[in-house]
């Protein structure tokens, strides 16, 4: 039962009402709760998925979007392996706040965190933010990009699966890099700098 090989912490952030909780519910429980109330503080879900025949356990921390819970939600960023920044494609203000969120992530999250921009509610007719605008934004800030619909279950599964796969790959790479470093101390400095360069410049086209 407890035979998972990897454990990753994923934190969802974004303005209130963009559908963070619904995304998580759709993914973990396969349902779309219509009258979902506002999250208070933080909520927690788990899901174990299989990537390349390896079991990967995802701890999903679903944070409250409301301003007043900012202090507690920020404290969850630090330990996160991946941060999903969600906005509502039918609501311009939620998109306009993204730079603020990035600043916060910059400040509180670890610098190696995997960042994914998600435009939710693509089932809605009244789209305000075209896909390419979101894509541009993601590209500029070195993030992955995906548009989803929690209601229609569109791209939700894919979102988390890709995250799991990406995190796993990073982990494996990191492990393989770590091994020689312990063995030969002399080459470490060069190796290290290149590895940092690699991770920070990670491309953003894979998911979209």
């Amino acid at each position: 039962m407890e035979d998972y090989k990897f454990l990753f912490k994923v934190v969802l952030v974004g303005n209130a009402g963009v559908g963070k909780t619904c995304l998580v519910r759709r993914f973990t429980q396969g349902l779309f709760p219509p009258g979902q109330g506002a999250t208070i503080g933080v909520d927690f879900m788990i899901k174990t998925v299989e990537v390349e025949n390896e079991k990967v356990k995802l701890f999903i921390w679903d944070t409250a979007g409301q301003e007043r819970f900012r202090s507690i939600t920020q404290s969850y960023y630090r330990s996160a392996h991946a941060l999903i920044l969600v906005y509502d494609i039918s609501c311009q203000p939620t998109f306009d706040c993204l730079p603020d969120w990035l600043r916060e992530i910059e400040e509180y999250a670890s610098n190696k965190v995997l960042r994914i921009l998600v435009g939710n509610k693509i089932d809605r007719e009244d789209r305000e933010i075209p896909t390419h605008v979101g894509e541009d934004f993601a590209q500029r800030h070195g993030m992955y990009f995906l548009e989803t619909s929690a209601k229609e279950a569109e791209n939700v599964e894919r979102l988390f699966m890709e995250i799991a796969a990406e995190l796993m790959e990073d982990k494996i790479q990191a492990r393989s890099k770590e091994l020689p470093r312990y063995e030969t101390n002399t080459t470490s400095i060069n190796g290290k700098t290149t590895s940092i360069g690699d991770t920070s410049n990670c491309g953003c086209s894979r998911l979209s």
Partner: protein, 850 residues
Amino acid sequence: MAMIRCCLETEVPDVFETLVRKCTDPGCCCWCCSALRPRYKRLVDNIFPVNPQDGLVKNNMEKLTFYSLSSPEKLDRIGEYLFQRASRDIYRRRNGFVVIAMEAMDQLLVACHAQTLNLFVESFLKMVQKLLESTDPQLQILATQSFVRFANIEQDTPSYHTRYDFFVSKYSAMCHSNHNDSAIRKQIRLAGIQGLQAGVVRKTLSDDLVENIWEPVHMDKIVPSLLYNMQNSRYSSKEDATPDSPTEGRSDPPQFAETCMRELVGRASFGHIKCVIRPVLRHLDNHQLWVPNYFAIHAFRIIMFSIQSQYSYTVVEALMTHLDDHSKSSPKIRTSIADTLSKIISIAAGESVGPSVLEIINSLLSHLRVSVTRNQSSSNDEQLYQEALINALGEFANHLPDYQKIEIMMFIMSKVPYSQPDRVVSVGKGDVLLQSILLKSLLKVGTKYQTIHLNTTFPPSFLEPLLRMSLAADAEMRLLVQKIFHTLIDRHQNIIKLARPTVNVAQLDLTIEKASRPDVIFIRKHGPEIYLALYESLELASNKVENVESIYTTLALLAVELASEETVLELLRLVLSLQDLALTSSQISVSLKFNLHAIVISLLVLISYVCNITSLMDYASKVVEIRRKEAPHLLPDLQSQYDTGLSSRLAPALLVDQTVLSECLKGAGLDSGKLQQGSGYSSISLQHRHSWVDSAGRNSLADINSGATELDSGGSSPGVQKKLPGEELTFESMKRILTENNNNHIIEEEKRLQLSHLFRNAPFQDLVSKTQPKHDVLQSKLSEIFNTLSVDPRNTSQPGGPSADTKPSQAPAYEIHFPELFFHIKDKNGIWWNSVSMSRIILQHYLYNH
């Protein structure tokens, strides 16, 4: 032998029983090999009933416990197996079995010895985590209960730091539970708090080895979670005193969160306090809980009550820094923060000592200053903010020992910007505001201070600037200073009784105590300074009725507090000079003069009452009687406006007469000589007060520059200048005085020569006839001689000079000219003659002729 039999007896049917039972269970797929399974697995399997509703199989559980106790090396496998079973059951949603598995683990945990637990604990914690990960609230609550039980076990090496982060995160999340069912929500929240308290706080704090829960990562989760729950308590919405000690309540999330908060803060060491306070402040900011600030106060009270008292001032410090951070926020928020500060500062004050006290005061003062400079137009909110700060200051001072209060008062005084009273450049408006704010805070501190000895209350470095401030240009400010004096001088709660002048002293029911020795010494030393400052303060034309009244109160309090013979004289002298002031001053308005008369008589009545001098009392009441009949406006109450018809010229009967006073004093056996010495606090009396040696030395300078001498005494006795209102101290006028004096000298010299010439040349008979008469006619003889001198010295020196102008400017010069040692004679031209030199001339002449 018996032992073996016993073992066999229990063992054999056991195996058999298992087989039978397993066979009846259709869900068991491996019944056939169950007998071949390891023993610990069989034992574990046996504790589960067929039907989960039946609960744990008790006697089988005992067997398992016995087994694990007798072979502790198997404990880790038992734990592992139990965990595996439970996770399978969770996966299959057979919660009944999960509960049983958890119960079994609990029992094993309690039963086993601490040193053997280590390996078992690992699976136990995995189990707890597994349950917490599930979405079923019941399982989460169950897990928490087990975790708490685990936390209560004394353990050598806590081994759960690997899961630590998860526990903190999960329990914090549970504290914020938003379950639809309110009962379940409450339970989950309680479980969350419990998990934080028992498991995380209690368990990890008792051991240094485990992860540091004071890391901001953890505190930022724990503290807001607790606060969020506390927010719903009854204190958060209304003003209610926070109890000192926690009231243990485990059924109510707010109550329980509060208990947990107290425990957390109580365990915090110096370095960790900031880690607790910072999230608190951020939480209050984020949830906008500053306005209204009931919850903020509640939360901070809890912190202050539970914190280790030696650290309590760091909380105050943190709150002040937060105030700094909020310097851009609305005044409302700042007011609330300052108010919170004032509410908690008293709790901190008892413990803080040394530099931290001054630091706190200093930072409060600098906040005040910033507030003053920020908002010159001072909106209402800003004023409230300043008020709140001053309150905080007062609260803080209130809880300090007395000697520190004096220090603080001196400290505040040193921060007051003040200008020299004689400086033309006045202070800016902001400074005036700051002055008054600082004085207000000083007053606040002063009211908390209980004077014992005046000399400790008023060290010179404090008294001096205070007296200087009492002459400030702003009437409001002077009023404040007087109020400070009131509160500091009064020791017997007489302030209210003496707040307004009255002639019915007997009705006031004053508390009077004989002045102590140190006080008398104090007043002997500093009394003149104080009286002079008060006198000068009364001289100011901008005084209002309140000012006069407040000065009266100061004087009356002094009289009551220092009722001794020695001080009475000084006071009476002051009273007389006040009357003089009222009669002679050209600066103050008529109504102010009437006010002065009123306080003169009030003070006289009070002094005579306090010192119990009957004759003086009689005299005072006589004057009161006359005034009541003829001039009621000279009696209290004071008015700001009197009938315009009232003349400022007064009949002598209405006034207090110096000679009568001195007679009364003599009658009471007091030395009234001092009273006669001078009429009081004008410049003359001041010079008498200086030691004659001093003044003689100064005056023996050949070129007496009277202006200059007056200037140096100006600091302590500006009255000298006040006496010469029209005079300007310019270079020209100095020069004039100087040359004038020189002329005088020349003329005198001339006169002396003439005189000696006369004596030398006149026939002896004449001289005999002139000198023979008794000495008391010397003056008349001399004036005769002077009459022969045709030249008037003044007219020669300044032929066209307007005499009205020159006269006042020369008057002090004459007085200074001759030290008081000498006996002076004034001729009818207003020229002073030194009798010593005069008689020497006469004697010389006499000897010469014989």
